[in-house]
Assembly symmetry: C2
């Protein structure tokens, strides 16, 4: 035993063929991660979620006993990777649906999808030009957080003896409004020689830092055309990055990857606990920074852009992710009094956080509202512009958590339901993120036949968010499950008994594809998720005496997939029953809002105002929330009068 721990072994993962050499005794989940394979792991490697199942094709190992494996699975050499120690060279097969793929093909598809969701690029090359789109969020003045200016100054003479530094300021102020300016010491030291060397023709890079304009860089000649930024949506599960040309206000390319903290738990609370117990805050930061750097590097390489020409990185995300990124203390996010270290984070040099762009480039993090309502939600409010409207809007963002904002130009309230990431595919047997082969649209016809569409039309390997919404709604509408979400064991041939009780077969094993089922626990999880969201909506509406008919618009945000059927969200009772034309799926508003801010200092200020003005409801300490949750744990709800359109269809 002792010997085998010291030795190095080669582990080969199928079907990817990825190999890794690792010391004996290493946990298989860790080996998989080091090989670049991100396995699902909701519990953070504690061995009780059962998501990291793999098949040992060959090799010696030692696995802790678990009740999460059926006798059949044990016979087939299936183990929990997090509970298995490596004792020899091994070959391991990872079920496709369990992999969080990062291969280029899936990334592209995924990124492409996000890019479609997040709106189009906005051509904007002149100062002050105004446009109107979701991404650009209306009428903000074009004034990027970091910009480059080409200046042709008149060199000094005996008659015109203004010092170089002041001469530069005067010249900048002819071009932009910068009443308060600041220059770094190193720039000041090199300034005179540099100005002389190029006859006072320079490109200056200026950045907004609070109300101060920082003179970030001075270079000889004209480099104005090379000014890029990356907007990042720091999701608990997925990280999305958009490359933006700041001179044209255009999105050039997009990339997405899985958050590699995922091995430490699928939700951020579990990751905070893990970090506390293992003193792994640095590790948490490193992983996130590594992910962001990888995205940036990939974008830059693809688009042939030098990292030094990327002057700005802007991040939106939940409060915990922003804390992890900056290595701020996140421990009281999960513990009374449930607060953040900082809701408003001043811009810092990206290099200070380890982000590899221009060495003087700035990193902005949008402000958050509270520990459980992060800057992704502020970005969403900015994107949807509900803070400017007279009528009342409801904004719902379904991600690993479900956040809800209600309000208008005069007031806004918000809350977060920690109902879990079921609609992101977690806690669902064949659930998966939106990616090639994911069922994103599903229909059960009157004749009982099941029809579905997969992303990229690949062979089905799992179900993503919009597919799960469809599945739940269709099972309900077709009477396969009852209002409590229980299967009606009424003889449907697709209904069989599996390891986890009753399960409904969406793709049968004899179809030539992998079998895909939805189990009773899956349905329970999905209902819990939707109930959490709807209960949060109800608490906010009740508290503000808002009736469904008062709602002028509902914005549903999240990474569901492009073919989300908003009707189904009403059918299952996740969203209030309003006329469908009032409901709009808005995709990834986190990145859309971040890009808006990136392009306009005015939008940055608006984001700060939004974060300040929202009133946060802590649902855990709210007396009415649990009641609402229980009432919402039915399909669509205990109180059918809240869902007249659903009641009318159901019989």
């Amino acid at each position: 035993m002792q010997d085998s721990k010291k030795k190095k072994y080669t582990i080969r993962f199928e079907p990817s063929g990825l190999k890794i050499e690792i010391p004996g005794g290493t946990i298989l989940l860790e080996a998989a991660h080091k090989a670049g394979i991100y396995l699902s792991s909701i519990c953070g490697g504690d061995g009780y979620c059962g998501k990291c199942k793999v098949i040992i094709d060959e090799g010696q190992y030692e696995s802790n006993p678990t009740t999460l494996l059926t006798p059949n699975e044990i016979r087939e050499n299936i183990v929990l990777a997090c509970q298995t120690k490596i004792l020899s060279d091994m070959t391991v097969t990872v079920p496709k649906s369990h992999i969080l793929e990062t291969s280029q093909i899936l990334m592209d598809a995924d990124a492409h999808r996000f890019s479609e969701l997040a709106g189009h690029s906005v051509p904007l090359s002149q100062k002050g030009r105004k446009t109107d789109s979701l991404t650009w969020a209306g009428t903000f003045e074009f004034d990027p957080l970091v910009q480059k200016l080409y200046l042709e100054m008149t060199p000094p003479t005996i008659q015109d003896h203004t010092a170089d530094h002041e001469r530069l300021y005067l010249s900048i102020r002819e071009k932009i409004d910068a009443p308060i300016m600041q220059t770094g010491f190193r720039i000041l030291q090199k300034l005179s020689k540099l100005l002389q060397s190029c006859d006072y023709k320079v490109t200056v890079t200026t950045g907004h830092r609070g109300d101060t304009t920082e003179l970030m860089e001075v270079e000889t000649g004209n480099h104005c055309e090379r000014n890029f930024a990356v907007a990042v949506d720091l999701g608990t599960t997925t990280i999305v990055a958009h490359l933006v040309d700041l001179t044209k206000a255009a999105t050039i390319d997009t990339e997405a990857t899985y958050n590699s903290q995922i091995n430490f738990g699928e939700d951020y609370i579990r990751r905070i606990i893990y970090a506390e117990e293992n003193d792994a805050f640095d590790e948490m930061q490193n992983r996130l920074v590594h992910d962001v750097n990888n995205l940036i590097k990939t974008l830059a390489t693809k688009q042939k852009i030098a990292l030094q020409d990327i002057t700005t990185v802007i991040c939106a995300g939940n409060t915990a992710m922003v804390h992890f990124l900056l290595n701020l203390d996140p421990t009281r996010i999960r513990r009374e009094p449930y607060i953040a270290s900082a809701g408003f984070v001043p811009p810092i040099r990206a290099a200070e956080a380890g982000i590899q762009v221009n060495k003087r480039g700035l990193l902005y993090c949008l402000p958050s509202v509270a520990a459980y309502v992060g800057s992704d939600i502020v970005a969403g409010v900015l994107s949807t512009r509900i803070y400017t409207k007279k009528g009342i809007s409801l904004f719902v963002d379904i991600g690993t958590n479900g956040e809800v904002v209600l309000g208008n130009k005069d007031w806004m309230v918000c809350a977060s339901s920690s109902a879990g990431p079921a609609f992101e595919g977690s806690g669902v047997k064949h659930g998966m993120r939106a990616g090639a082969g994911a069922i994103e649209k599903l229909n059960i016809h009157k004749d009982g036949s099941i029809h579905f569409k997969t992303i990229s039309n690949n062979p089905p390997i799992g179900i993503c968010g919009s597919g799960l919404l469809d599945t739940l709604a269709e099972l309900f509408v077709n009477g396969i499950i009852d209002r409590t979400g229980r299967f009606k064991t009424n003889g449907r041939p697709e209904l069989t008994e599996g390891d986890e009780g009753w399960q409904f077969q969406l793709v049968p094993p004899d179809s030539g594809h992998q079998q895909i089922v939805i189990t009773q626990p899956d349905i329970d999880n999905l209902v819990r998720s939707k109930a959490g969201v709807f209960a949060a909506i109800r608490v906010l509406m009740e508290s503000t005496q808002t009736k469904p008919e008062d709602l002028e618009a509902i914005y549903l945000a999240g990474g569901f997939g492009n073919f989300l059927n908003v009707r189904q969200a009403v059918t299952i009772g996740m969203l209030p029953d309003v006329p469908l034309e009032k409901i709009r799926f808005v995709g990834n508003t986190s990145i859309a809002g971040a890009k808006t801010v990136l392009l306009s200092w005015e939008a940055h200020k608006a984001a700060e105002e939004i974060a300040k003005s929202m009133t946060y409801f802590d649902l855990m300490s709210h007396t009415g929330y649990m009641d609402e949750f229980i009432k919402a744990s039915f399909l669509p709800h205990t109180d059918l009068s809240l869902f007249p359109s659903v009641a009318a269809v159901k019989h």
Copy 2:
């Protein structure tokens, strides 16, 4: 020869007894400097000023031939230290008048003098309290550049879930006006744990950086009472430092030292040339920083203050000195178009410039007007408050250069005469800085007898500024020199022929003291200096059509000595002939202004306004200046009608 260069030799300097071990071939001037002896060296070691004469008592050396030594001097083994190579162990005597002493005794005396000149400490412990004195310069609100605040915050609860960072800001804003705040990343990272560890009772250090308030430090507990600053007057020859208690607005102690760049030339133009020719900008900075650090360390040690409790350093000085301190490029100060790299220098962390105080402490440099009108003059204008007055004032600062400001609350003009540092004792055979043994007051009675007073009543070893002013005036008034400054060889026994032509004996060799004379070249130098200053005054007055009777006040600043007789400045024609009660000797206004700014952000803004609003006259390119200079090269002037009071006395 080759061998002797490699060997190390011990050089002993008398009368100090200081020793240094140095490789053979080293230049004696350099050895002296390394031993801690600052010899006068106007020419920067080029061998033509003849100020670094020393006597070789013992040892082998090699000296370049020079015409600056008389046959007598050569016989007495007198050499120019800058032209002499060390070839063996040596004993060297340095004439007392040639040493720029840095010994503790002289430093104390000197510092004490400066402290007297610069006004008294101002007790000011309450926010917003206003006082009126020269140092405090009137009615600025007490608002130090860096302050410490003790905050007892209410810890967060579930109901009061404001994030730690915002909670801190709110608490700070209850105490001070800080609309724009900024926090360093490292502070943000440690903030939460720190606040929790002390139940939200902290001392914050805040600093004004432009219009932004920087949160410089957060510490547990109450440390408000330990907040100190050092104000520095960066003179070309002398550096003066005042230690200020920022909580009481009181000056605690003062120190002064000689600028150790002095070996590279007595005026800053020569030092810039030296730095350019020898790529010695780093060395120039190091010396200045070293001097400032020494002063700070001495003050801190004497007053038992930890360096980390010194949070602020503020400097005023001529433009070149500020450039040297920060290692900004000073080369075009001496070369067309005669401009500075930066007139306005943003506050930086003192550590960035190598200044050793609190590691996050800030270094402020007051703004300058032009290459030849530095922040010391801005400080002087602030101190004398001429920028607030309805009547026209004239401000004259005689240091290594002579700067002149004319104006009132509506307009101000300024100029610099590069007439040389004769009144600082340079270029004068027995001239010296104000220090123990310097003749600071001199009188020639009607009976021909000569009376003088020395600083500290020590035996006379030379003549300082006020003594030189008296000497020149008394020689003129008593008819010993004529209106062109030539000795009248009319049989006065004190008039003898020396190595440099005629000389007048102030202290005879048979007096028991060292012989002290004033030579014809000395007088020529003094007359040139005063002519330069008066010509500058005339140019400014003519250009603004200001008549002598329009002048409401003349402020004379500089390190002359405490017993300056302003009447004599009129007698020799350095200052306009106005009623004597209008002339006020104001001492070191550079440090007085710096201290005012230190204690009030409002004063900082005023200094910036002053620097911006002054119009600079470049005398070198001014057509009338040379004419005025020639006319002023008489005692008191070619045009006696300009000096009616002098004309009335002379017969």
